[in-house]
Symmetry: C3
Subunit: 467 residues, 3 copies
Amino acid sequence: MPLHPDRLLPADPATRAIARELYRAVADLPIVSPHGHTDPRWWGENPAFANPAELFVIPDHYVLRMLVSQGIAYEALGIGEGAQADPRTIWRTFAANYHLFQGTPSRLWIDHSLEAVFGLEQRLSPSNADAYYDAIAEKLAQPEYRPRALYDRFRIEVIATTDSALDDLRYHQMAKDSGWTGRVLPTYRPDAVIDPETDGFEDNLDRLGEITGCDTGTWQGYLDAHRSRRAFFKSMGATATDHGHPTPQTANLGAEDASRLFDRVRRGKASAEDAERFRAQMLTEMARMSVEDGLVMQLHPGSFRSHSPHVLKHYGRDRGFDIPVPVSFTVALKPLLDVVGMDPRMRLILFTLDEATYARELAPLAGAYPALRLGPPWWFQDSFEGIRRFRERATETAGFMNTVGFNDDTRALCSIPARHDVSRRTDAAFLADLVTSHRLDEAEAHELAPRLAGDLARDGYRLNAPA
Amino acid sequence: MPLHPDRLLPADPATRAIARELYRAVADLPIVSPHGHTDPRWWGENPAFANPAELFVIPDHYVLRMLVSQGIAYEALGIGEGAQADPRTIWRTFAANYHLFQGTPSRLWIDHSLEAVFGLEQRLSPSNADAYYDAIAEKLAQPEYRPRALYDRFRIEVIATTDSALDDLRYHQMAKDSGWTGRVLPTYRPDAVIDPETDGFEDNLDRLGEITGCDTGTWQGYLDAHRSRRAFFKSMGATATDHGHPTPQTANLGAEDASRLFDRVRRGKASAEDAERFRAQMLTEMARMSVEDGLVMQLHPGSFRSHSPHVLKHYGRDRGFDIPVPVSFTVALKPLLDVVGMDPRMRLILFTLDEATYARELAPLAGAYPALRLGPPWWFQDSFEGIRRFRERATETAGFMNTVGFNDDTRALCSIPARHDVSRRTDAAFLADLVTSHRLDEAEAHELAPRLAGDLARDGYRLNAPA
Amino acid sequence: MPLHPDRLLPADPATRAIARELYRAVADLPIVSPHGHTDPRWWGENPAFANPAELFVIPDHYVLRMLVSQGIAYEALGIGEGAQADPRTIWRTFAANYHLFQGTPSRLWIDHSLEAVFGLEQRLSPSNADAYYDAIAEKLAQPEYRPRALYDRFRIEVIATTDSALDDLRYHQMAKDSGWTGRVLPTYRPDAVIDPETDGFEDNLDRLGEITGCDTGTWQGYLDAHRSRRAFFKSMGATATDHGHPTPQTANLGAEDASRLFDRVRRGKASAEDAERFRAQMLTEMARMSVEDGLVMQLHPGSFRSHSPHVLKHYGRDRGFDIPVPVSFTVALKPLLDVVGMDPRMRLILFTLDEATYARELAPLAGAYPALRLGPPWWFQDSFEGIRRFRERATETAGFMNTVGFNDDTRALCSIPARHDVSRRTDAAFLADLVTSHRLDEAEAHELAPRLAGDLARDGYRLNAPA
């Protein structure tokens, strides 16, 4: 029985009772998932998942990295040349090492998924690994376990994917055309046509020109191409853009300087400094376009992607080797904020992996600039302790209304209800603490709980706007 | 009934009982307020406050920034060209948005002020906004609500203001001459004649020369002018100086280098690097003078003042747009500490907005150098969670005796008892946790509570010295 | 009665009951102490400790710095020219100021030592200072209070010292030769022959050449000399090396660049930049040798040693004036990790004094790279709050298995059982919280507690390998 009904609620009995009521009131609310990485093909083609290993192990970089950190080879997890091809063997390796996840959110998510999605109530272990494999595999073959059925079963109200600027969004179109009523929104993620240090950057810009009919050989044509793609994404339902830059540096160059910088970048002549300046300038350009077209802007800075060249070369990207670096926003964001920070039409949602910024910079910034909102804990911090630290450090300065609820930021479909459940429980626990310490009335906590569970995300991402 | 008698005390019943006793023992102790920003005119002229909006909304940058961050214009809050002129309308806007302060210290302070100062026991809301406005306005017209009466009612024992080096301290003199028995001390804050990047810096130095009769055209004359002003401030009761530098950088240049640097600065030829070096050098000069004249030195570094040029231009300074930056003390303070760090006559109180420095640098520094003490959480952190984090991170390395109790650091008169109350409750909760976990005897906690509530401030700021 | 049986356990009664059981199960387990600074002479010669002041006050930099920070002169503590020579007078000074340690781990350690080692159950105070002095002094004269007897009484299973690369390990040899069964391991700490900024660096390299017969005038000879010393240390039982660099910077220069850099360093021509690059390169060289010889590598970066030149000059090193600086590992460790990070033979244990790195960098790195493990909280953080913060911030991302249990890192012999006791209690409290919040089953917590108390240290430091 891994899933206790009181999990993550406060230890003190009186506080726990308050938290239980708060949680009960939001436990079954629909899921609003405005930022994530589910595969659009799932929604367009609604395929069956292949097997338990491909559902739980291979695509989850949290799972991979923990196993690898303890000496298990990627090959044993089905990745790389000569990798293990038998999914059952991979699953057994996973089960044999499931104890490694003690104390981690992965364990909470997987326990929750096994029980809530597949009805498997004992903790995964070597002794039940085969039986669980069979049970899951059998269910994956049933229509009730295809993506769209899970969407309904998870009570997802809306879910956003994250899509390359060059993507034709065919699966989004397919989902629409199919008559399915699920709401799946693309998100404009133009990193590959903005970051000059991306592999194939120049080809990407050629491609961007072909797709849009704009002359991406010139600065103005390049900006027009972005406008064109943003309009297309918006027509397909997008309400937001997302930017995964190494730093939050922004710039606001004069038109001529920007144009000259673009020329160097376009001709592959960009120095590392040029590349950083170009990314910086483009954040401000994206912000200007957001003011025009109303797309909410998201910034996810401060991750050193694919830190191990060995892992990158042999096993690829998103294998668990993206490592955070220190980040500071105050000076870095100023050029952008000087342009759009006070503009009521602008909305920029800030994320961080450097928790030192919560109380020091992010809460003070979002607690002042009308354009800013704080995204929930991202990635390594979308966990009980992580969400707790976020609330404790951000709330006193930014309040609740400058935050945008929770988003699951995941490519692991079955973990979505589990993650939102962790978020709702952690917020219920936090609110209950405020009530017990008489910082908040119980009635206020009951007003806030559903806001944190959904309304703030709907509002923050402008999801209520007519489609 | 917003003010529960157990607010901010621990959830665990046994711990709460201990905390309640600790709090009870200090709740009514006099307020020692050695650092703050009340208006000296209040103490000199003892005027009536104009209206509720001017008391609670317009001067409080915490209140302003939260309202602005949610899209309310400064103009609607009575600030800027063409601003709303009717204080009742401003008050209504405030009341209509009072929910934005849920979970923030502003809410605790304002709830406390409304109840404890004005006897208004329901939470502020649109429905009682007008009645509250009338009730407060009526009281503000009474002599019992003038500043000096509030000083007595709040049981303030001593309060320090923060004053420009160029200030003639006329209101302090007026307060003395009036025969009023309140103790209001000026604090020497020479930023405007030390920071070459201040607007009007050269004029300020001319003015400093005129006031002191020293030749502020030379390095030695300039230093003498500081000595003269410090002596004047001291004669008016000052026990401390305060320095609001962008960084904690210090320097200890040779006499010739310092003199040459001053010459560049004096002639308006200072580069940004010169300006930083000059501020750095002046911290060490101020420290040397502190050794001579015994004034306690305070350093408040790490705030990017007036981050938004738009807000600065249209609405002025201190409107909620001062944003922290990362700070490191260890290397930056070394030049100064090499000079005065081991000197028993020196006292330097360090403040920070970057909580990462508490355990990493500030507690180790203050737990070693006899010259150093730790100021309480400053600004965004003078809150329940903020004080808690300070105690948890600083105490194990610096102990209690290297801290200087609480100071309210506010320009909001009515929030002073509320802030000290939050501090006393939070410290009672922290001490009670130490008792419950048997890290401290209950008798020791009862000895410590009044020290944290007043004695450490009296000692830290040398307030017990004969006036 | 300073030592309450429930000290450091959670306040909530149900959680405390769980923690109590967890603690009871590990309280009496043997002590594994794989990193520390006890004096090898104690183990070789087994001398009596001279007096209470030399046992508790003079060698403990935590005790010294706190007393000094409050204005007590080193001289009064028996250190420096013309220092107090009477140990009883020093002890009285300590006792008179024992309240300064309220809320600090020093207080917990000393209370514990006095009671558990000397049977003194009242808290130290001026009134019992003389009686305590006599009682301790009397016991120190008894054979039961000599180091080896204390080793047995403390149930130490193995203890590592930290030794210069130039040390002949004579006391380790003496301990072996004596037939004593205690297990005392040296640790290879080559800072003095790696850091070009060490006083006497060139002489040290000459000496290294003499000892090893290698030509330390050449890069290859110098590396061979390290190999030789490492082999010697290993033959004497060492399982680990330790590196106390100012920063975690690593480098991976080509052979020629490295050789040229060595030449500059060897001839005393190294710039500050060269020195940093040389230290950086040597971390990678040490890592390569660890892959060859299997010695576990430890890195302790980020301390500004002997911050006060006055203290260094008059009172020496390790007097409480080592102050942390900000640290970042992600970029700094990359050159080393590119070489050995994925190698299953490599083990690098990372320590930090900058807690901002726990969740941001260390847990993500150790939760991915098989070569990495996280050392316990170091120095200022080996305390209740410090260990707690470490577990809360590291566990969710790195799990438990990427940590290496506790080590006491101390030169204070009597504090060793006290420190391990604090660690075991704090971990019991943390595990109990996980159980109460249903993040862990109680049975799992009971499996984990002894791992945290010993197994992870045995495994992490490869202490189970045949001697």
